[in-house]
Assembly symmetry: C2
Homo-oligomer: 280 residues x 2
């Protein structure tokens, strides 16, 4: 099942053309998005997602997104949803028509969670490390590179996932050339060691994770230590667990990195998933 809601609160046919060819979202990948999970009709982390959408808009010099319109479109999708208990809500906002009056193009599309994502949540996945071409300091020095903005220009993220598949893996851990961990193409990396969870800082030029933040809040309340610190690639091999977090995949276990098995984190994965779910 798929449902498409426009920012005026109306439903539209997702199989019908909606966007003009001169929309800058299409011509230039010039726009922003969020993917939000809803469970049993309730969106998770909707506030942080819309905060991050506004942050991405600011990084791209776009007008501030109409928060109420996105909240309403999310509600319209969920109120009309008759599919599975979980919905992936993709919220998109483009810069609008080239040479137009600046009116953005926006919508929220509700989709089922893919079988692939469900399998990865349950079974974990193999990942490979791929260099991202970002060195520490670059994101702050060169804001026009939009590092850490969730823009529609995701061709590189998609190419990295294809490279992972070529290497027999399902996911990517982006790294700096100096061997520091960044993020996945559509996920946040979390390493666990004892009762400490660590994720790399967004100042490296990566996206602040909403699911990771929710997990960290829940973990902290349960007495865990949570850290936002650089992580060396080598440290992933000795961690008790390595996880990729995102709205759709929740907390997904990385069982293999660059062809090497990581320590078995099955029990830890259950613990963290329980912590994460306790947040709702």
């Amino acid at each position: 099942m798929r449902l498409l809601a426009l920012l005026d609160g109306t439903l539209a046919d997702p199989d019908a053309p909606l966007v003009r060819v001169d929309d800058l979202g299409l011509l230039r990948g010039d726009g922003i998005f969020e993917t939000i999970l809803a469970v049993d009709g309730k969106p998770r982390e909707l506030g942080p997602h819309l905060d991050r959408l506004a942050r991405s808009a600011a990084m791209l010099d776009m007008p501030e997104p109409d928060r109420a319109a996105f909240e309403r479109a999310v509600r319209v999708v969920l109120d009309n949803w008759t599919g599975g208990a979980e919905v992936a809500l993709k919220a998109v906002l483009t810069r609008g028509i080239e040479g137009g009056d600046g009116t953005p193009t926006g919508f929220v599309m509700g989709m089922e969670i893919s079988a692939k994502a469900l399998a990865q949540r349950a079974e974990g996945l193999a990942a490979v490390t791929l260099e991202r071409g970002i060195e520490p300091g670059l994101a702050e020095r060169a804001p026009w590179l939009l590092l850490g903005a969730k823009s529609l220009s995701y061709a590189v993220n998609m190419a990295a996932l294809r490279e992972a598949e070529r290497r027999g893996a399902a996911e990517v851990v982006f790294t700096t050339s100096s061997g520091s961990v960044l993020e996945g193409p559509t996920s946040t990396l979390i390493a666990a060691r004892g009762r400490t969870l660590t994720t790399p800082p967004s100042t490296l030029g990566i996206l602040p994770g909403t699911t990771q933040a929710a997990l960290f809040q829940a973990a902290e309340r349960a007495g865990w230590t949570v850290e936002v610190e650089p992580i060396a690639v080598d440290d992933l091999y000795t961690a008790d667990g390595v996880f990729l977090a995102s709205s759709v995949r929740k907390i997904t276990r990385v069982h293999t990195l660059d062809g090497k098995s990581l320590p078995d984190s099955t029990a830890l994965h259950t613990t963290l998933t329980t912590l994460y779910e306790s947040h709702y």
Copy 2:
């Protein structure tokens, strides 16, 4: 005037929605494009542009573009064009619908040349240098970064142009952090010194220029020396002329770089423009 032709050779209304919201060109900037100049009904460098479109497709693991279909769509636009003598033809091909059968979405849109581009051709422009976060070797080492592919993920290129405007300039010369020249966000850089023209090599992770190649062919036939070599930013200040070349802007003179006036290249610009036009 604007004309839109589809890959089946039919004309469509450019003001009507044509693209679904789940097109990967929109959702992920996952697609490729070319901008081709036509003058008096004749496309310039159509072969090299379609070669480069095929090269971009290969870099993005997309199926080879249907060359005959693009040639036909270009012809349909030009045969029906009743606007100015020059037309900018934007050829676009996306990866198609998310989760679809892989059928790409493609079209060719004909547009007038903007008044801004015409003014810049005549008067030249001010540019600023901006770091691109690409070091020598990265493009070859990390092909998943799609460096040198003309993809629809151009949000960074657009952000760089906004940064130039904030700095009181109209254009950007992307550089490496080690002070080597790359390209403009939508143009190729050419430096002139005596009767030698130089452009940086595409192995740095930049786009091979079609307009630059046409100029170099014409210049070589006229007895100039042409080089594809790295250029240091500092060398731009002592060159006889610095130019940004692209289909729409032809050979446009950079008169000011980072707020400093460059040597007057007005006469040289006339010479190079005459050389370029002699190619047709």
